[in-house]
């Protein structure tokens, strides 16, 4: 039976076919036709206050649920406002589909009102993008967009739809088979390479399993843990891979890199074999590349062939899905261990345990001094039992949250790793909570980060998406200040955010949230308790924190990981 629909109706129908339950967006001229059939659809629309919020919400939703997040906005400024979240999702491999309105085809190229070349602008920050030219393409392109966003190395896909196509009519058809001759992501790894890998691992004396965000994206945390146990591998989890193996696991060494644990950093430096899965040798992990893990051979498993040997040569490259390859690795390793004994690696583990004992993550909370940011994070973890999805903005608070929150499960840590987008926390938390309404969603935010996207708290209040935002207010752009202190002779150029402003409690209340404040270490726990007890609206808690606190350990930018510094006195 043929059914005549407008392009707008077809678009909403196609989204329903993809199982979309929420879209984050804001209407405007060019996308207006699509908002009408949305009223008749079971899809929930969350009306944002700024399109950047819609993009980050879609990303937070995707992080928390593993499903594709959707943003729906109009042309011109709305589309350009989406660019930051698209690049953010691209860097962190987050499946997002963005649908943008475009001026009518007759106006394209005429510098029409609210016209921007969205297709061209978004090309380098999407996995793929479309500018539709025919209303009949809508069902198939939406199908393709979701397929591309979710499969292989996930990422953002943008579909730009001229207004005239939304108004035109078409005969609805279910999307056909996907026909993308140039897109066939590998799933299973090459069996020969897998065999080489397990033999190499078994012969290694000082291996490290280097697990990245690919583990989370591939829903492979259970298999990662199994493999670490079977192969007896100490495991580091990158900023994007936190929760890939429980932090309480005896094989877990925490986060590597610029602000990683001493043990994770040194284990990689001294390793003779890096078993890399779903990680990309980011500069924040490697430090100076030439000095990174100088004695290590590299096994590199990644679904994206372009990551392999991009930064560090891979002795054993394996292209495939992290979960599928881990399954193969476990199987091959178990088989190998039937005939060959597993090495105990006692010396290696002794070294690691000594590092762990001698170089723990540390801070001092003076009971009468200013609140230490790490203390707030640990207290919240203690009080909640760690049973929450944790979101962060970008800066010192993000590093502390990653260091001091013990992550036990995947998809409980949501942050902007690759792009380092300040302002990520609030909208991403809203998106996560919208996607996982039964879970406690808390965000740690800095006072700088908070002020970039705080208007989305209005969205949260109106939509009853009750996130809890913990602002670790040190009144500075803390991470930049830390660099100025360490590398610019304490010349603090443009990092003082002006103490006392804004009034976070007053702001919170003005935006329909509960606002709380803690000034003293003894207030921290009771204020957290209070924040957790308010469940009829979003909560913002301001902790007045130590303005001079610094994140350690730290590998100075461009330096070798061997030069990791654990306290300020150690910096010459």
């Amino acid at each position: 039976m043929s059914e005549t629909l407008t392009g707008a109706q077809a678009l909403i129908r196609a989204l329903e076919h993809e199982g979309v339950d929420i879209v984050f967006g804001m209407p405007g001229g060019a996308i207006l036709p699509a908002y009408d059939p949305l009223l008749d659809s079971p899809i929930r629309h969350v009306l944002v206050r700024h399109e950047q919020g819609a993009g980050h919400m879609a990303s937070g939703y995707a992080h928390a649920t593993g499903r594709v997040g959707v943003a729906l906005v109009t042309s011109g400024p709305a589309a350009t406002n989406l660019i930051t979240p698209l690049q953010d999702a691209y860097m962190d491999s987050i499946p997002v589909v963005a649908i943008t309105g475009q001026v009518a085809q007759t106006s394209i190229g005429m510098d029409a009102f609210q016209e921007a070349h969205t297709w061209g602008i978004s090309m380098p920050c999407t996995k793929h993008n479309y500018l539709l030219t025919d209303v009949n393409e809508i069902p198939d392109v939406i199908r393709e967009a979701f397929h591309l966003a979710a499969t292989g190395r996930p990422g953002p896909v943008l579909v730009d739809i001229p207004k005239d196509l939304l108004v035109e009519t078409m005969t609805w058809h279910r999307p056909g088979e996907i026909n993308l001759p140039g897109y066939k992501p590998s799933v299973k790894g090459h069996p020969k390479q897998v065999q080489t890998a397990v033999e190499m691992i078994n012969a290694s004396e000082r291996p490290v399993l280097y697990a990245g965000g690919g583990i989370i994206r591939a829903n492979a945390a259970d298999r990662l843990r199994r493999f670490a146990e079977v192969a007896n591998l100490p495991t580091v989890t990158t900023l994007m891979g936190r929760g890939g193996i429980p932090d309480s696991h005896p094989l877990a060494l925490g986060m590597p890199g610029m602000h990683g644990t001493y043990t994770a950093i040194m284990a990689m430096q001294r390793s003779d074999l890096l078993v890399t899965i779903g990680a990309r040798f980011d500069d924040r992990v490697t430090g100076k590349v030439d000095a990174f893990a100088p004695d290590a051979k590299v096994i590199h498993v990644d679904v994206d062939p372009a990551e392999i040997s991009k930064v560090r040569f891979a002795d054993v490259p394996i292209v495939g899905d992290a979960g599928a390859v881990l399954e193969q690795l476990v199987f091959a390793m178990e088989h190998l261990l039937d005939t060959k004994p597993a090495p105990e690696r006692r010396e290696w583990f002794d070294t690691i345990h000594t590092w762990q004992e001698e170089h723990p993550l540390a801070y001092d909370q003076d009971p009468d001094g200013p609140i230490q940011q790490q203390y707030v994070i640990q207290e919240l973890h203690r009080i909640t039992g760690g049973d929450a999805i944790v979101v962060a903005g970008v800066g010192q608070h993000q590093m502390w949250a990653s260091q001091f929150w013990g992550f036990e499960r995947p998809r409980t840590w949501i942050n902007s790793g690759g792009l380092g987008t300040m302002g990520y926390a609030i909208p991403a938390a809203v998106g996560a909570k919208a996607g996982a309404p039964d879970q406690l969603v808390v965000a740690f935010d800095g006072d700088g980060s908070f002020q970039m996207t705080m208007q989305e708290l209005v969205t949260a209040a109106v939509e009853k998406i009750n996130v809890k935002i913990f602002v670790l207010n040190n009144q500075w752009l803390g991470m930049v200040k830390q660099w100025q202190r360490l590398f610019y002779n304490e010349r603090y150029s443009a990092t003082d955010l002006s103490s006392g402003l804004p009034d976070f409690v007053g702001l919170a209340e003005a935006m329909g949230c509960a606002g709380l404040r803690a000034d003293h270490p003894s207030d921290v726990a009771p204020t957290i308790e209070k924040a957790l007890s308010i469940n009829d609206r979003p909560v913002v808690v301001e902790f007045r924190c130590d303005p001079d606190a610094m994140v350690f350990p730290m590998v100075p930018a461009g330096g070798s990981n061997d030069d990791v510094v654990e306290r300020v006195e150690d910096l010459a």
Partner: protein, 175 residues
């Protein structure tokens, strides 16, 4: 840089013939900091596909090829090591040619099998196709007369029939 120098690589890219695919390729090259020496695009025997010939400056092709494959519309990427493909360029060159020197210029051009396609009062315009080295040699020979204007196509390349190896190369008969 002289064509065919050691740091130039010739790759052909088979892409879906979709709007904007050229923009995708050139945008990727720009974003990744790869240098394009020349780029030529045209249809193939299969109407749904286009072939691009890209001459790239740089020592290392692996990452470029992988990044090309990463584009959704890229179907096949082939690197052509020196001599493994038939490579051609076309040029049109307007040469200073006072009537008194026409004869010698035409003689020189004949050696290269360059065709005179336009003759003016004081100039001759030649068309020449061939291996990039041949075009360079021709221009070198014409330089003393004065090259008034010049246009060169990007290089196009087609891999040799794998069965013929490097055996039969009739095009090498000419200069």
């Amino acid at each position: 840089m002289r064509p065919g120098s050691i740091s130039q690589h010739v790759i052909t890219v088979l892409v879906e013939d979709k709007p904007g695919v050229l923009a995708r390729i050139s945008s990727m090259f720009a974003r990744r900091g790869f240098n394009i020496h020349s780029l030529a695009v045209g249809p193939t025997a299969d109407a749904s596909l286009s072939r691009m010939t890209v001459v790239v400056d740089g020592p290392e092709m692996e990452q470029i090829i992988k990044q090309l494959y990463k584009l959704v519309n890229t179907v096949k990427v082939t690197e052509h090591p020196m001599g493994s493909a038939v490579e051609r360029e076309v040029l049109l060159a307007r040469i200073n040619a006072e009537p008194s020197r026409r004869g010698e210029i035409l003689d020189a051009a004949r050696i290269f099998e360059a065709r005179a396609v336009d003759v003016g009062k004081n100039t001759i315009t030649f068309e020449l196709s061939g291996e990039p080295g041949k075009l360079s040699d021709f221009l070198e020979l014409m330089a003393p007369y004065g090259i008034v204007d010049l246009v060169k196509s990007g290089r196009i390349a087609l891999g040799r029939d794998p069965k013929s190896k490097n055996g039969f190369r009739p095009q090498l008969r000419t200069a």
